[in-house]
């Protein structure tokens, strides 16, 4: 609560629930400068988040004290490594209300989604009939939405190509929401799986998953929720969610790169054949063929990302200490402030919901007469890091008739001052390109 609670001319600002100055001190990278000594204003957490010291320390401690391959060998280090790796699974599971046996470690959300997509096509050719229940084939349908990140779109397009299934999708409304008017026809008896994002990485929209999941349940379809942009920013509990799968990435929630999570309901995971095969995912191996371990090990072939899993557990503990309710409230206040500040600048258009109702902190915008890359370049010159381009959601920018956008995203270390810097930077871009 060290933020200035009011500033002249703009009326009272609600104090932020998180102590931004104290949090910034936990992130070594935030003290560096960029581009000839400019203070770094990091507004690209939606692409990847920065890491607090406790996460870096956890990884370092693993390598310095108990580095070994978990689930192999019986020496002291192997035991300790296994213990810490499995403790990380329990910590991360508890964070989303799941038992540890339902947590599969992957490389990131993208790999988690591919794991499910390949398991569904592998099911069609599985030798063991126990693995065929969720097989996808000709006549089946997979449903996504038009606002999906490429990671939750391309794997399903590919699954359909491999199996002869058909891809269908829910469209978008002009104000950046899902168009659910044809939900009952798009999700139908032929639907095998609905894959949908909880929070759009480009529009910021938070989707009404309850309604979609209820419809999927009516027709007996599986539901996969892309939580890459929601799990880092709002409380998510899988028992309340009611889906079958939830995927998220460690690096977007203060954790290391190279670690992601697939949560799956155990009854479903148990009936899925493996995606990747090899060491440590097996039960018995003979030259003639092999049988597989129970989940989650069935889906974790090879020596796992041990240090990264332990780092992610440290990130989860950091977020838990802040409180996900407060993280969510913090970002809501920042989002409201940013929408207000951007609305004050002539020529700036926000693509996506214009208020904070069912909206997260990803704010995509265009500046009249200046291409997003050029906006981003001027911001960069001021030390402000934002994302430019189509944000791996090309159909979305196409839907809204823009070539690309500039996107600012917030996190626990973001304060009102960062948003003021953004607004000043946009004005500087307008001045530089002579559009005002």
């Amino acid at each position: 609560m060290t933020q200035t609670a009011s500033r002249p001319g703009t009326g009272a600002l609600k104090p932020l629930p998180l102590d931004v100055e104290a949090i910034r001190a936990d992130f070594p990278i935030l003290s560096r400068t960029v581009r000839d000594g400019k203070k770094l204003v990091y507004l690209d957490s939606g692409a990847t988040s920065q890491k607090p010291r406790s996460v870096l320390d956890a990884e370092r401690e693993f390598y310095e004290r108990y580095n070994a391959a978990p689930h192999r060998g019986a020496h002291a280090l192997a035991e300790e490594a296994t213990g810490h790796y499995e403790a990380a699974r329990a910590t991360i599971g508890a964070f989303i209300g799941a038992p540890e046996r339902e947590i599969v470690f992957t490389r990131n959300s993208t790999e988690s989604i591919n794991l499910v997509a390949y398991a569904l096509s592998n099911a069609a050719t599985a030798k063991d009939p126990a693995f065929r229940e969720y097989a996808v084939g000709q006549g089946d349908e997979i449903v996504v939405s038009e606002m999906e990140h490429h990671a939750n779109l391309v794997p399903w397009q590919q699954l359909c190509e491999r199996t002869g299934a058909t891809l269908r999708w829910l469209g978008l409304t002009d104000d950046g929401r899902l168009d659910l008017s044809d939900l009952a026809t798009v999700v139908n008896e032929r639907t095998k799986l609905v894959a949908i994002t909880q929070q759009s990485n480009i529009l910021g929209t938070i989707n009404p998953l309850g309604e979609i999941i209820a419809r999927a349940r009516e027709v007996g379809a599986l539901v996969l929720v892309d939580g890459a942009q929601s799990v880092p920013h709002q409380p998510v509990d899988v028992t309340e969610l009611g889906a079958d799968f939830l995927v998220f990435s460690g690096h977007k929630m203060l954790g290391p790169t190279g670690i992601g999570v697939l949560w799956g309901r155990y009854e479903v995971l148990d009936k899925l054949p493996p995606f990747m095969t090899g060491g440590s995912m097996i039960e018995v191996v003979r030259m003639e063929g092999s049988t597989f371990a129970a989940p989650p090990q069935r889906f974790e072939a090879g020596v796992p990302m041990t240090a990264q899993a332990i780092g992610l557990a440290a990130a989860v503990e950091y977020l838990q200490a802040l409180g996900m309710d407060r993280v969510e409230e913090h970002e809501k206040l920042l989002t409201g402030y940013a929408l207000e500040k951007l609305a004050e600048i002539p020529g700036v258009t926000v693509i996506g919901p214009q208020d904070t109702v069912a909206r997260g902190g990803a704010i995509s915008f265009t500046v009249e007469g200046i291409h997003p890359h050029d906006v981003g370049q001027v911001l960069d010159d001021h030390g402000i890091a934002v994302r430019v381009g189509h944000h791996c959601a090309w159909p979305v920018v196409r839907r809204y008739g823009v070539p690309a956008t500039t996107r600012a995203t917030f996190y626990v270390h973001t304060g009102y001052d960062d948003i003021d810097a953004l607004a000043d930077g946009i004005r500087a871009a307008q001045k530089f390109f002579g559009t005002v």
């Binding site: 291409h371 997003p372 890359h373 370049q377 189509h390 690309a404 530089f432």
Partner: protein, 169 residues
């Protein structure tokens, strides 16, 4: 502010008032190139003629595109540079432009290439920003591609005089 080193006045002029823009006929090849990471796009056509010695020349290069100032200005500057040149000379200029983009802002490289690249040498500052190099290169890649296709089309026509003339969309 380092911005001016990249956004030279000449680049901004090409961006605001592009030369040769618009798709024209006739043409022997049309290509569409994109920058998958950012969504910059160009559709580019080439129309070949031949000089007195029978060397293929670029009689017209026409285009439509959208994208950032660097990507769009680069097409316009390239148009000025290659129009009426032989395909061989144009591709050599493309190689020079590639060298410029790999120069990491080294002024000595830019100085050496000034004669061959004309206005396009103003893009030297872009080579200091690795993320923007592909924006500047997109038009040159499209030209190289379209020229190769046009040459193979016209060669095919020369060998098979009955082959239909005109575009290959």
């Amino acid at each position: 502010m380092q911005l001016e080193s990249m956004y030279q006045e000449i680049i901004l002029d090409h961006y605001k008032n592009p030369h040769g823009r618009g798709l024209r006929e006739p043409f022997e090849a049309e290509v569409h190139h994109v920058n998958p990471t950012c969504g910059d796009e160009v559709t580019l056509r080439v129309h070949l003629g031949s000089d007195a010695a029978g060397e293929p020349i670029l009689s017209d290069v026409s285009y439509e595109g959208m994208g950032c100032s660097i990507s769009q200005a680069s097409i316009s500057a390239m148009y000025d540079l290659v129009l009426g040149k032989s395909v061989h000379e144009a591709l050599a200029a493309g190689d020079d432009f590639m060298t410029l983009m790999q120069a990491k802002g080294d002024p000595a490289v830019a100085e050496k290439l000034e004669d061959s690249l004309e206005d396009a040498v103003a893009f030297a500052g872009v080579s200091k920003y690795p993320a923007r190099i592909k924006c500047a290169l997109m038009s040159w890649m499209a030209l190289k591609d379209a020229s190769a296709r046009a040459l193979s089309t016209t060669t095919a026509q020369a060998t098979h005089p009955t082959a239909p003339a005109g575009g290959t969309p």
